[in-house]
């Protein structure tokens, strides 16, 4: 992907971006309030912890079953989609995906594309690519529309504009939407958006959408949404292009109900979404609506790398509910933009390294206290803390032959490795440990009053004058 399009530089300035948010009491409060709201909505959906646990176990096993069969399911999906008249395209990189989509647009002489919510389209930065090719790309999900008007990126995978207050949105609409006066009435704001978008659905040459589940045995694309814009994008324009990652496949229709229930309850605390679309063909002869062409672009972009490793493969179980970010104390402190990646929060930390390489993302793996809140709520039981530790290992151990990941060893430092080797030498040896801790306890007054980052908000650490072992000796053990 060309440099000017891919703007994500997560490793650069992550700490500075985090600090900017952490130092802003208004943002801190606003993120805290939003995440509290989402957490309570989810909690209300799962009053029975045993039901939740068995549903999570079911979700995990469905995802693992389908991942285990992924290579054959992809073939089966392509066969059945083709039979249904849906054209399948394969893209290894974001560049390839953009080229495929723009190729379809050019063949249609398209001027305008309306988009339903799709994080994969964010992943490939489709809007930039489309604009560079002279095609308008308009977001039609309300949150995405707001973010696009503001010239920003989504800060959350489910609620793209969660970082914005209604007053900010009101000002944005007044500034950017023609003929609109300032109002911070939420219903009025939504109506403004709807009026703009309604016209665009009719004008658009292309409708673009994501996919929540692609069903291999039937050749069906399923789309979960709340605003009806997904249905408009996939039915009103003459051509529908769907894009998704290669991991979003299930073999059977019957796999969907448990995953859908986990998805909506975990994501927004809804029993079910307002819309659930099942797209199984273009318009057939005699039908009055629907697009005349339907395309599916299947994107790899690093997913095969994760797939090839038994442990890292668990990353691909994700159904993109966003519960991990809603429950993450780090996300709650810094919000989505600080991460600098398409996917923020815990899932972003474990999936972005496969898309962007560890050179760009090794810092993110360290931005976790491993508290486990993400793994606890994950509806498909992705062991996120375990995967974060694995990524730390991949990032910090010296580069070696046949690495599991692009950028393995990118965070390697001779000094840090030596410190840990020295630490292990002391802590594996009772006599060296004894000497070191004895010196620490006797000469604790020598401990510096500034202890790096620790003392930025804490008093210095000072060993006690007597160790527990000394106290036990004195007592006569």
């Amino acid at each position: 992907m060309s440099e000017h399009i891919l703007e994500f530089k997560p490793a650069e300035g992550f700490r500075a971006r985090s600090k900017a948010v952490v130092d802003n009491p208004f943002l801190r409060q606003s993120f805290r309030g939003a995440m509290d709201f989402l957490m309570s909505k989810r909690a209300a959906q799962f009053p029975d912890s045993e039901e939740l646990e068995s549903l999570r176990t079911l979700g995990e096993s469905i995802r693992q079953y389908n991942l285990a069969k992924l290579p054959t399911l992809l073939v089966q999906l392509e066969e059945n989609l083709s039979r249904n008249g849906i054209q399948v395209h394969w893209a290894e990189t974001p560049d390839e995906a953009n080229a495929i989509i723009l190729g379809i647009c050019h063949a249609q002489h398209a001027k305008l594309m309306v988009k339903g919510k799709s994080m994969v389209s964010e992943e490939i930065e489709l809007n930039h690519a489309a604009e560079a090719a002279g095609i308008g790309a308009l977001e039609s999900d309300m949150g995405e529309y707001i973010v696009q008007l503001a010239g920003e990126k989504p800060s959350h995978i489910i609620m793209p504009a969660i970082h914005k207050t209604k007053e900010e949105i009101a000002r944005l609409f007044a500034d950017k939407v023609e003929g609109v006066d300032y109002t911070d009435n939420v219903d009025a704001l939504i109506q403004i958006g709807r009026n703009v978008l309604r016209q665009k659905f009719l004008e658009a040459d292309i409708g673009l959408s994501g996919v929540n589940f692609a069903v291999a045995e039937t050749g069906t694309l399923c789309l979960v949404e709340n605003e009806g814009n997904g249905r408009m994008c996939t039915t009103a324009p003459p051509v529908h292009i769907a894009i998704t990652g290669i991991e979003k496949i299930v073999e059977k229709l019957e796999h969907i109900p448990p995953l859908l229930s986990l998805l909506t309850r975990s994501a927004t605390g809804q029993n079910i979404s307002t819309y659930f679309n099942m797209i199984s063909s273009p318009r057939k002869a005699g039908e009055k609506d629907g697009p005349s062409e339907v395309h599916l672009v299947l994107l790899d972009n690093g997913r095969s790398q994760a797939y090839a490793d038994e442990q890292l493969r668990k990353t691909l179980q994700c159904i993109r509910c966003g519960a991990c970010m809603n429950h993450c104390p780090v996300y709650t402190r810094i919000g989505g933009h600080a991460y600098g990646t398409t996917y923020p929060g815990p899932i972003g930390k474990i999936i972005s390294p496969h898309m962007l390489g560890l050179e760009a993302t090794s810092t993110m793996a360290t931005a976790s206290s491993l508290c486990g809140a993400c793994g606890e709520v994950c509806p498909v039981k992705i062991p996120i803390p375990e995967l974060l530790m694995r990524l730390r290992e991949e990032a910090f151990t010296a580069p070696h032959a046949d690495p599991a990941m692009v950028g393995q060893g990118a965070g390697y430092s001779w000094l840090m490795t030596s410190v840990w080797k020295g630490w292990a030498a002391v802590y594996r040896s009772p006599s060296l440990y004894g000497l070191a801790t004895w010196l620490g306890s006797r000469f604790s007054w020598l401990m510096p009053s500034k202890q790096g980052a620790w003392t930025s908000v804490r008093v210095p650490l000072k060993p006690a004058p007597k160790r527990l072992r000394d106290m036990l000796k004195e007592r006569g053990e």
Binding site: R15, S18, K19, V22, R28, P329, V330, R333, I334, A365, T366, A367, S368, S369, L370, C371, G372, A373, G375, E376, M389, L391, R392, E393, E394, A395, F396, T397, T417, W420, W423, A424, Y427, R428, S429, P430, Y433, T437, G440, G452, A453, W454, T455, S456, V457, R458, V459, L461, K462, P463, A464, K466, R467, L468, R469, D470, M471, L472, R475, E477
Partner: protein
């Protein structure tokens, strides 16, 4: 994760794995935990060659270094006695991560599995093995309990500390806002991402203080180091000479409350 081992019948002997943090920074908590166990008629054995569970290296991405340190601890508990650990975090490392750490080494894996089955976090051991019923001998007092993320999510022992405090007649246990949220310690996280860790501990200390409790107790000294370290720093910044949030290990609090 929940506790998987069936509590043994009341043992006569236990090993005590103090953890490096208790040995060096909170030795009083270790002494108090040992005294509490001894008062229950248990003989407590402290293998003197013990050092650290290896977790700091493990969670920092250095499993080889963690393995070297962990391998040493594997050899320290030859008798089939329970191993009591006054920390949910270090207990979680030994119980749940040692078997993974030694997965490729059949001999040590067997040792790790055997040790894992004998690891008990202190409050879990007091409640579920010893059926400890503390008799409160102190006056009225309000405390707030902070439970570590490992105790809560890895060991599933977040209820036992509360249960012990709850059985103290004159002690009120205050409820803090966002109780289950991490204090922001996370080992090397606290120095690798000091801005985020700092914000987390700041919020945690505010929530604990807002309860009006006179002290915070916890079964994890790692969290206490972070929480008390920030509270004391804040006191210094704001010119207070007495601590606005004193705190201690739950073993010390329990021992004091049950002593004349």
């Amino acid at each position: 994760m929940t506790r998987t081992t069936t509590p043994p019948s009341r043992p006569r002997d236990v090993y005590f794995f103090a953890t490096c943090v208790v040995d060096q920074f909170f030795p009083g908590a270790g002494m108090d935990a040992i005294t509490l166990l001894e008062r229950q008629g248990i003989r407590v054995h402290f293998p003197e060659e013990q050092t650290c569970c290896g977790q700091p290296a493990y969670t920092s991405g250095f499993p080889d270094e963690a393995r070297k340190v962990a391998a040493h601890q594997l050899t320290l508990f030859p008798n089939d006695w329970p191993v009591v650990v006054p920390s949910g975090s270090c207990a979680g490392m030994m119980k749940h991560h040692y078997p993974t750490l030694f997965a490729a080494d059949p001999v040590r894996k067997a040792q790790a599995d055997a040790l894992s089955a004998r690891i008990y976090e202190l409050t879990d051991f007091l409640v579920n093995v010893l059926n400890f019923q503390p008799e409160d001998k102190g006056g009225d007092c309000t405390v707030v309990l902070h439970t570590s993320c490992s105790a809560r999510r890895e060991m599933g022992v977040h209820l036992t500390g509360r249960q012990l405090l709850g059985s103290l007649g004159k002690v009120t246990v205050a409820q803090q806002d966002h109780e289950s949220e991490c204090c922001g310690f996370g080992g090397t996280f606290s120095v690798k991402q000091p801005e985020i860790s700092g914000a987390m501990v700041e919020d945690k200390v505010k929530a604990l203080k807002a309860t009006g409790a006179e002290r915070v107790v916890s079964a994890d000294c790692g969290c206490l180091m972070n929480i008390l370290g920030h509270a004391a720093w804040k006191d210094e910044q704001e010119g207070r000479t007495t601590p606005s949030l004193p705190g201690e290990h739950i073993a010390s609090f329990l021992l004091r409350r049950t002593s004349k």
